[in-house]
Each structure stands twice: as structure tokens, then as C-alpha cells.
């Protein structure tokens, strides 16, 4: 469904992302992992059209969308959420979701109905009339997801929707994401919460210092020496192995 090839971006002399390549098959949940500053979010901003890549290409359902504006890309059925949640603070939860729903439902009545429906499906039924500014972090993360879903996009790029949540909240949102996937959506998600990645993602890519260093099932990745080194520092894989043998 999504094919990213050799995507690169430099900020001044810093190569934030170089030659990143990844594929997201339709109906799957793909993880994008990596330590802080690895270039994951930069990758997302380029895929979603918020910044132009220096080189490389992004294809959505075979159509080249490299460098298109975010609203075009959203119209084509791919949407991103933000790591730092961006609610429309002055609006109610329902109105927030309706902004997304307006994309394909031009009438207020329809958009509001879609918003209520999506809100209820994501377990926000009782919060619909509350101002978005009154939500907890978990609520705001869920609102990001609801708003994105209301646009009717089929491919969702989730940027750390679980960061800052407590375990029960994570379990809830994992269930929700799985349910949405079963309804015919595809996910590419940046995630630090390994519990979530292990239970959700079929495959995952690992980015380190702007370079894709590994690709495979989450179970394989946690044993991959390159991945362990990326997270725990040079020589960590070897030390761990020695500990195991000792």
C-alpha cells in the first residue's frame, strides 16, 4: 500500500535520514522503531508531506506522492498523527473529530453524525461535549486517532500514540488499534512502548542515526545485535551474550 524508497533529508550538515526504504502492505500494522533522534519523526513528516525530502520517493497505492502537500495526501487516504498531540483546544471533542469528518462529508449534520459515531467507537462517547483542553493525555492521544479516522483515511501514520500512557491505557488503545485494523485500515506506527510493538506489529523497521539498520518481526529484532547496540550502546550485544553464557 505504501512504498518508501531511498528517502533522504539533511538539515544543514546533519543527515537526519539517509536512504530510508520501507514497505507497508495493505491491512498490516508495521512498526518504525529507533532510539531518540534516529529520524523517525522526520521520516513521517516527509511521508505525510510536511517537509520535502531531498531525494527518494513515496508511493501510495502505486501513485507517486513525493512532495505533495499534506492536504492532498490526506485526500488520497493517508494521514499522520502528531507525537506532541495537537488538539483544537477551544473546541469540543465532537467538533474536533468533525473537522476530520468534514473532509468527505460537506454537510454539518453528516459530519457531526460521523464524528459522534467515530467518537463512540473509540470509547469517547461520554466525552463528546467536553472541551478538548479538558482531556487527559490518554484522551488527547485517542482524540488524535479519532480525528484521523474520521477523515476516512485508510492508512494511518501514528507517531507515538502510546507515549506517556499507563499500562491499562496502553492495553485499551492496543485493542482499539487492532479493532480498527480489522475494519480494513493499515498502520505505520512509530512506537517506543515495546509491549505495544510486540503485540501489534507484524513487522518492524529499525532506524538509527538516519539509517535503516534492521527489518523483521519484532521478535527477531530484539535479538538482532545491531538493534541492541543501537539502543544500549556499542558492545552491548556482546556483553549481553557473554552474560547469557556465564
Amino acid at each position: 500500500m505504501l512504498e518508501v524508497e531511498n528517502l533522504s533529508k539533511s538539515f544543514g550538515g546533519l543527515k537526519a535520514v539517509s536512504n530510508a526504504t520501507l514497505q507497508v502492505p495493505e491491512g498490516s500494522i508495521v512498526g518504525l522503531l529507533g532510539p531518540n533522534g534516529a529520524g523517525k519523526t522526520t521520516c513521517f513528516t516527509m511521508i505525510a508531506g510536511f517537509t520535502k525530502p531531498d531525494s527518494g520517493s513515496v508511493r501510495l497505492r502505486g501513485k507517486d506522492i513525493t512532495g505533495l502537500a499534506p492536504h492532498h495526501i490526506c485526500n488520497l487516504g493517508m494521514i499522520r498523527t502528531f507525537q506532541i498531540v495537537q488538539p483544537f483546544a477551544g473546541l469540543t471533542v465532537e467538533e474536533n473529530i468533525a473537522v476530520g469528518a468534514y473532509l468527505h462529508h460537506h454537510e454539518r449534520k453528516e459530519a457531526m453524525a460521523v464524528a459522534r459515531d467515530v467518537g463512540k467507537r473509540l470509547g469517547m462517547g461520554t466525552l463528546l461535549d467536553r472541551p478538548a483542553s479538558a482531556l487527559t493525555i490518554a484522551g488527547r492521544k485517542r482524540l488524535e486517532l479519532a480525528r484521523a479516522l474520521a477523515t476516512g483515511a485508510k492508512l494511518l501514520l501514528l507517531d507515538e500514540v502510546m507515549a506517556g500512557l499507563i499500562p491499562t491505557e496502553i492495553n485499551e488503545i492496543v485493542g482499539i488499534i487492532r479493532q480498527i485494523r480489522d475494519e480494513g485500515h493499515t498502520f505505520l506506527m512509530i512506537e517506543h512502548v515495546m509491549q505495544a510493538v510486540m503485540s501489534l506489529a507484524e513487522t518492524a523497521y529499525v532506524l538509527n542515526q538516519g539509517v535503516m539498520i534492521a527489518h523483521g518481526t519484532p521478535r527477531d529484532l530484539v535479538r538482532d545485535p545491531a538493534v541492541v547496540e543501537a539502543y544500549l550502546g556499542h558492545g552491548a550485544a556482546q556483553r549481553l551474550q557473554e552474560d547469557d553464557h556465564a
Partner: protein, 326 residues
Amino acid sequence: MMKLNSTGQVVLILVAVAYLLGVYFISSPVWMGFTINALIVAVLALSWNVTGGFGGLSSFGHAVLYGTGAYTSAILQVTYGVNAWVALVAGIAMAAAVGGFIGALAFRYGVKGSYFALVTLAFAEVFRICAASFDFAGGGSGLQLKLAPGISNIQFADRTVLYTFLLAIVVLVMLLTAWIKYSRFGAYLVAVRENEDAARALGIDTYRIKVLAMAVSGAFGGLAGVLYLQLWLFIDSSIAYGSSVSIEALIGPIIGGAGTVWGPVLGTLGLHLIGEGAKTLLSNAPGLNFVLYAVVLICALRFMPNGLVGLAGRIGPFAKKESKDA
């Protein structure tokens, strides 16, 4: 679906409606004349409300729209003998075009916040100087319409008819504002105000929305300018493009409640009442009303950030609960 208004808002609106209708019964030319002026400013305030209220695009140069409407109509009528109604439509269209042009230019280069305010102020000043310099715009002596009372010339000999005409226009512009507020366009505009990045991610062409808002605001502002011309039959560069016009445009909505349908009208009426009262009390010291406006504005910003409408919204059984961390 309209939300229920709180008791405070209902009372506020009823007082305003009672006042506007009361003018018919108190046969005082002073009150009527003063309210007629306030209604024209209310249209201008509703114009600012589209961009500044819904869109969060605070313009400090709405005189550029007001003046363009007035000048376009005046030049067409005085120089080319065009019918007043045709000139009215042309004035509105020209002001909308100028609004759209300024928006297109400013937003193309990502101008935001106070920089946008400065850009609009600069445009208003450029237009003011041009209007004062070019002969086809009357130069320093301004433009004078011929006195020719009659509906076909939009000149009303009877003040009551004039008042009714202006009241109808204010109601019409308020209805259009309500339509914007509850339309997709309005929702997108508010989304742009609240968080532009999130709006872009949700498929909104924010550039297009902002330019469109400037054009709609231009149409309303141009209408206000034409109304002023039709009332006084005279404009010059500082009346049409002066910065006091820009101040009047934004102060009413801010005090009344920006981004609401009633706020700009309530704020403008309230301010003009205060200004008029002060003038009467302090024997017409010129410019004193602006000093008072400033005091009221500072108090409004400190004590009622959502304006009169917001303040009244916290009174009564349907009062909106304030969120703790807003």
C-alpha cells in the same frame, strides 16, 4: 444544531434587540443618528470577525477593505455616473478582491500573527497615501456624491427608512456570519485558528481557506465602506483608509466576543454608547472616545477574554462550564 444559549446571553441579546427597536419609538434624532453610525461600524466589525474572530488572523488594517469599497463606489458614481446599486456591488467585489489579494500575498509567504497585522496596516497606509495623491480618487479634497434622495440612489431622505435599511443589512450580515459559523468553511477556519498544523494534516488546504476568509471579510468590509459613503455622501483618504477605521473594526469584536455572531454587534453598540456618553459628559473633547475605548479594551482583555458574549455565557442554567486547564 445550535447550542442552547445561556440565560446571560439571552438577556444580553434581548437588551440589544430592545435597544435597536426602541430607537423607533424614542423619536430622538440624536439617538437615531448615533445608532445609524454604530450600525455601519457593526458591519465593519462583522467583517473583521470573519478573519480575526473565526480564523485568528488579526488584521490591523481593515480600513483597506472599507476604504476600497467606499472609493470604488464613489469613483464609479462621481466620475462614470454609474448607478448606486451597481456601484455598491462593484465596491463589494473590489474590496473582496483586494482582501483576497492581500491574503494570497501574505499567506503565500507564511506571514502570521503580529506580522500579518503589520502587513495589513502597511497596505491600508499605502492605499491611504495613494488615495490622497491621485487625481482620479479626488486627491486631497476627497470625493463628493451628488445629493439625490431616492431608493435607486441608495439615499434616504427619511431617517427611519435609512435606519430600517441599515438594520436589515446588519441582520443579513449576521445571518451570513451564522451560516459561516455552522458551515464546513467556518469549521475549517476555526481549525486553522486553533492549530494550523493539525488542520493541514486533516486534509485542509489552509492557504485556500485563509485567502477565502480574507475575500469574504473584504466583501463585508467593502459593504460597510459603501454604506458610509451613501450616508455622508463624502469620503476622503483619512475617512476611508485612516487607521481609526482599522481600530474601530477590531475593537468591537474583541470587546463583544470574537468568533461569535452577536459579539461584534454587541461590542460595537456598547462601545459607541460609552463613547457617546463620554462626549456628552465631557463636552466633545475630540479623540476622547478613543482614550475611553482603550481603557475599555484593556479591561475587556483582562477581565473577559471571550468578550461580552463569553462573560454572559457563564451566567445562568445553560452556562458553559469552564475547563480547569484552558
